[in-house]
């Protein structure tokens, strides 16, 4: 059984911006470990001559021409913003 620590669960949830209760953290710790166990089974297979798969579609070079296609309803997107100021999205102060 894979051993995911509670600290790792906390770190992953922090990176995903999720705040977990103790109970949830416990649940995910067990589930993460099970997921890794399943992956470990696959690891037993010989994949020496199998190239890494990044896409299962069997396609490449799906491209579009470089011709502008304005959306035309940019205002609607802005209307979904929790907060706006003029033409801008307004967010909490971030400064480096």
């Amino acid at each position: 059984m894979a051993n995911i620590t509670r600290e790792e669960v906390q770190k992953i949830s922090k990176l995903a911006k999720l705040r977990l209760t103790e109970k949830e953290a416990e649940l995910y710790q067990a589930q993460f470990s099970k997921i890794l166990d399943s992956m470990a089974e696959l690891r037993q297979l010989d994949t020496e001559d199998v190239p890494p798969t990044t896409s299962v579609l069997g396609l490449s070079n799906v491209l579009r021409e470089d011709s502008p296609a304005p959306f035309g309803e940019a205002e609607d997107l802005l209307a979904n913003a929790p907060e706006r100021e003029g033409p801008y999205y307004k967010v909490r102060k971030v400064i480096e």
Partner: protein, 474 residues
């Protein structure tokens, strides 16, 4: 501090010269436009949308790589770089990670003393730009931040050099050469003012001759080549002081502050460095098919190095002149176009005219050629330079303008002799010196003739006639 050296690698982001964004049809002309007017569901990360790769962006990226002697990967893939920041609506940036589209290039740069320096290119990858954050309006600091996604999704290439750079001047030379190649290849306009070329620097210090690299700091916010040079010099002193006093350089991201001329630690970036890259399942692999690559390679224009070599060999220009002419593509283009209409021996005169005219910017080749032809007999080179701004502005032919302004050079020997006579009489000391064999004194007599003729006397003839007059005992 002489026994230490810096080890520098540069990461340069350049905006590709496309009309639309990397994965959607929004226009890339948003610089200076009203905020959030070049946006759509794709580049603002709405649920359920799919990115589709811009063919032109790929072609420009491939051409940039070819121009930098890079190898193109047969297959490259796109990856998601995950982090939360308000300028990134999807909470991931589509970039390339494990399989970038190109690697292992080189760029020859020229230092101030004329020496060449080769900087190897580690890799180039394609990625999308983030949006823009506003923290102040004018001088008024805001208590919140504003986001503009016009820039979000703009196609970029990130060019990562090997840590081959050892002094700040080399960094400057590398950036200059890189910019030239990218502009020549047409891949990017590299307009620094619009942020179309941005640089981050990795720098560490070590004792000269040491093999091992020291711990490096990454410096961001370098928005001009001069900033890069200044920041590297500051950071070198800072790191050497730490090492000298027995301390240890911390691996971190630092921000350059051009006003304070110093770098400052950017602590907020520390914990965010876990990007959890993984292949983007929305995008299929990118294949550099040989026929495609061959066509792109064939479509590359002459690059700066080849052009410089041609200017010195074919047109016999000095390497300095060739260097200055090629530093602006449109000037070098104009030179070559104009030379098609002129004789090879006119090359030097044309180069002089272009290089010595203040704020030179090209006019059409036929008029330029006519102007050079006029400097052979009709007007002096100085007059041609003076005439140039008006020539540009008016669109008139050089001949017409010279006639209108009555600038034609005077080569009539009768008139010139009169001026020479008057000049000798008005400058008895110089005239006596000249008769006494002081050849240098001829300069002030020529000057006097030029003054009398309002700059129109043919200088070659004037010289000849002064000597004749003196020898004849005038």
């Amino acid at each position: 501090m002489a026994e230490y050296e810096m080890v520098i690698g540069l990461e340069v982001h350049c905006q590709l010269a496309t009309k639309t964004k990397l994965f959607c049809g929004c226009a890339t002309d948003g610089f200076g436009a009203v905020a959030n007017t070049r946006v759509c569901p794709v580049c603002t990360g709405q649920p359920g949308v799919l990115p589709v790769l811009n063919k032109r962006a790929v072609e420009l990226a491939f051409q940039a790589a070819l121009a930098l002697d890079c190898k193109l990967a047969d297959v490259s893939i796109f990856a998601r770089k995950n982090y939360f920041y308000p300028d990134l609506p999807k909470a991931y940036q589509i970039s390339q990670y494990e399989q970038p589209f190109s690697q292992h290039g080189r760029l020859e740069c020229r230092l101030k003393d004329g020496a060449a320096k080769v900087v190897r290119i580690h890799r180039i990858h394609l990625e999308e730009d983030a949006g823009k954050l506003l923290h102040a309006i004018g001088s008024e600091e805001l208590d919140h931040s504003l986001v503009d996604f016009n820039r979000g999704g703009t196609p970029l290439i990130e060019i990562v050099s090997e840590p081959d750079i050892r002094v700040s001047d080399e960094a400057y030379a590398y950036l200059t050469a890189l910019r030239e190649v990218l502009i020549y290849s047409g891949a990017s306009r590299c307009d620094l003012e619009k942020g179309e070329m941005r640089c981050d620097a990795n720098i560490s210090v070590r004792l000269k001759g040491a093999e091992k690299f020291g711990t490096r700091a990454e410096i961001k916010n370098l928005n001009s080549f001069k900033n890069v040079k200044d920041a590297l010099e500051y950071e070198f002193r800072r790191q050497v002081e730490i090492v000298e006093s027995g301390g240890k350089v911390v691996q971190e991201t630092r921000l350059w502050n051009a006003e304070k001329m110093a770098t400052f630690s950017m602590r907020s970036k520390e914990e965010a460095h876990d990007y959890r890259y993984f292949p983007d399942p929305d995008l299929v692999p990118l294949e550099a098919k040989p026929a495609w690559v061959a066509a792109l390679k064939a479509g590359l224009p002459e690059l700066p190095a080849a052009r410089r070599a041609r200017l010195t060999s074919e047109f016999r220009l000095s390497s300095y002149d060739a260097e200055v002419l090629t530093s602006k593509k449109e000037v070098a283009d104009s030179f070559l176009e104009t030379m098609k209409l002129l004789a090879p021996e006119d090359a030097k005169a044309l180069a002089n005219l272009m290089l010595n005219t203040a704020d030179f910017s090209p006019i059409d080749a036929p008029r330029m050629a006519e102007l050079v032809t006029l400097t052979r007999r009709v007007i002096t080179v100085n007059k041609a330079k003076e005439l140039y701004p008006e020539l540009r502005a008016s669109g008139k032919s050089p001949k017409t303008l010279v006639e209108e302004k009555g600038l034609a050079q005077v080569s009539d020997e009768g008139q010139l002799r009169e001026w020479v006579k008057a000049a000798l009489a008005a400058n008895p000391q110089a005239a006596a010196d000249l008769r006494g064999g002081k050849e240098r004194a001829i300069g002030s007599i020529v000057g006097a003739v030029m003054k009398l003729s309002k700059g129109k006397a043919n200088p070659g003839l004037v010289n000849k006639l002064i000597k004749e007059a003196v020898n004849a005992g005038a």
